[in-house]
């Protein structure tokens, strides 16, 4: 494990219904500081399960996830502390519908980081500014477009100052004309050096932004490398087959 490694996944397995469904079947993956790792693969290959295991939304059947020197898969550790440092963005935004944008952004920093309301709000406004949504601070999620919702959701995670951001198909639920604005925000984030793990079907984004592309199928990592290696010189036949369908 190199010194830059932020998350070290070893032998990660996740089975459902006994051993009938092997959603993850032995994953080894190192994610370094500042990397943008894009995970691709066919439907049902285990991408979401893999991502959700990183912050233990799914409880692994076996294996270890070393983050900040602790094994997250160990049930004895305080997972909540670690989750604060792992921002997550969902396909369906999951904003809190009963709170306005500002409240969505500040509730966790206030309750969990012990920030003062003014301080948390000032920080949230600064972050909103970066995604051009400062003028919607008082709006409720139902008053926002899909693209705006997802940008707010990204900011909500960022307000906790995470060490890594996890994205599970952040643009899949968006109308096509709104995909761009969300990817733009993610690109900016990558440029600022944020460590990101992104599950997406946006191959253009993967090619342009990823430092590494990981191809999964059948609960296994079958191939990984730079975008050029994976997209232009795929080795694994299943990756070749997958790319021929999506590109």
């Amino acid at each position: 494990m190199n010194a830059n490694c932020l998350i070290d996944v070893k032998g990660l397995k996740k089975y459902y219904k006994g051993e009938e469904v092997k959603a993850l079947d032995g994953i080894d993956l190192e994610i370094d500081q500042g990397e943008v790792v894009v995970i691709i693969g066919p439907s049902g290959s285990g991408k979401s399960t893999m991502l959700r295991s990183l912050n233990l939304l799914e409880i692994p059947t076996a294996g270890s996830i070393i983050f900040d020197g602790e094994d997250l898969a160990n049930p004895k550790i305080d997972i909540n502390k670690h989750r604060q440092k792992m921002g997550m963005v969902f396909q369906h935004f999951n904003l809190f519908p009963n709170m306005n944008v500002l409240k969505n952004l500040t509730i966790a920093p206030i309750k969990l980081l012990g920030k003062k309301k003014e301080e948390a709000e000032a920080y949230a406004m600064e972050m909103l500014e970066r995604v051009d949504l400062a003028d919607r601070a008082d709006a409720y999620p139902s008053q926002l477009s899909g693209g705006q919702k997802q940008r707010v959701a990204i900011v909500r995670a960022l307000c906790m100052d995470p060490e890594v951001m996890l994205f599970d198909e952040p643009t899949s639920a968006l109308d096509p004309e709104m995909v761009g604005e969300v990817l733009e925000v993610m690109k900016k984030l990558a440029k600022r050096g944020m460590t990101m793990v992104v599950v997406t079907h946006e191959m253009g984004f993967a090619r342009e932004v990823a430092t590494r592309v990981v191809f999964m199928d059948g609960g296994k990592v079958l191939e990984q490398g730079t975008p050029e290696q994976v997209f232009d010189h795929p080795q694994d036949p299943r990756l070749q087959d997958f790319l021929s369908k999506v590109l």
């Binding site: 049930p75 969902f90 809190f96 309750k111 969990l112 139902s142």
Partner: protein, 244 residues
């Protein structure tokens, strides 16, 4: 013909004015409200606790099982007790529960109103608990995941994110449960509580005529229920407005 000779006027006089009988209705109605209000509070408190236990069992059993230790064992026993409670309370008539409370459990107490509050409270709690549980389950699972992924623990997620949304979803159902409770308390007369229904019964017995006294009782219930129903409608409209 003299107005005061009319049958109906005479009857109303006998049921309401003679011996200040209207005060009996007032007192009876006050007892009805006392039992309903008290039972409502008892039901809410116990109901919330049971719903909390049942949902935390459903949502945490996987984690607790993996964690080992006695946490899972305790929670599953408590959860089992709650389930038995719900089954018994919802599977037996409230009158029987009331009589067991009065003649067996609190045999030494003659405070019927208090026993009524306890009995109807415990009964109502079973229904309130299931309303809350359904409400919590109806909140999108994504909300739960958003809360947990940001670092809130189970109870913080419940408190800050799930319960405020759940409350909005169940408020109309909850208010309807209370309207049902108000009407249910009419059987408290079985254990000697002189609430509204019993009052009508007693006055009927005194004047050998039941139509007017019970009619008045029915009207008081009806008007109260109509007022409460209008309130529920208002709450529902306001909630729907804030959804948008």
């Amino acid at each position: 013909m003299n107005f005061s000779d009319l049958w109906i006027v005479n009857e109303l006089k006998r049921t309401l004015l003679v011996d200040d009988r209207y005060m009996m209705y007032v007192n009876g109605f006050i007892n009805t409200l006392k039992i309903t209000g008290g039972a409502l509070i008892v039901g809410l408190i116990i109901g919330i606790i049971i719903a909390a236990i049942r949902t935390s069992y459903d949502k945490n059993k996987e984690t607790l099982q993996l964690k080992g230790g006695i946490g899972y064992g305790i929670l599953s026993i408590v959860n089992w007790i709650c389930k038995v409670y719900l089954t018994v309370i919802r599977g037996t008539p409230v009158v029987v529960q009331l009589m067991i409370m009065y003649f067996v459990v609190f045999a030494s107490s003659s405070n019927g109103v208090l026993v009524g509050i306890v009995a109807f409270g415990i009964n109502s709690a079973a229904y309130v608990a299931e309303i809350f549980r359904a409400g919590i389950m109806s909140v999108d699972q994504g909300q739960f995941e958003a809360g947990r992924s940001i670092g809130f623990n189970y109870f913080q997620t419940m408190r800050y994110i799930i319960i405020p949304q759940m409350f909005k979803a169940v408020l109309p159902t909850l208010l309807n449960e209370f309207i049902a409770l108000l009407k249910e308390t009419s059987v408290a007369g079985y254990v000697g509580v002189i609430e509204l229904t019993k009052t009508g019964n007693i006055i009927g017995g005194r004047i050998y005529e039941y139509f007017i006294p019970l009619g008045i009782v029915a009207i008081i219930y009806l008007v109260t229920v109509l007022i409460l129903t209008a309130l529920v409608g208002k709450v529902e409209r306001r909630l729907r407005k804030s959804e948008r």
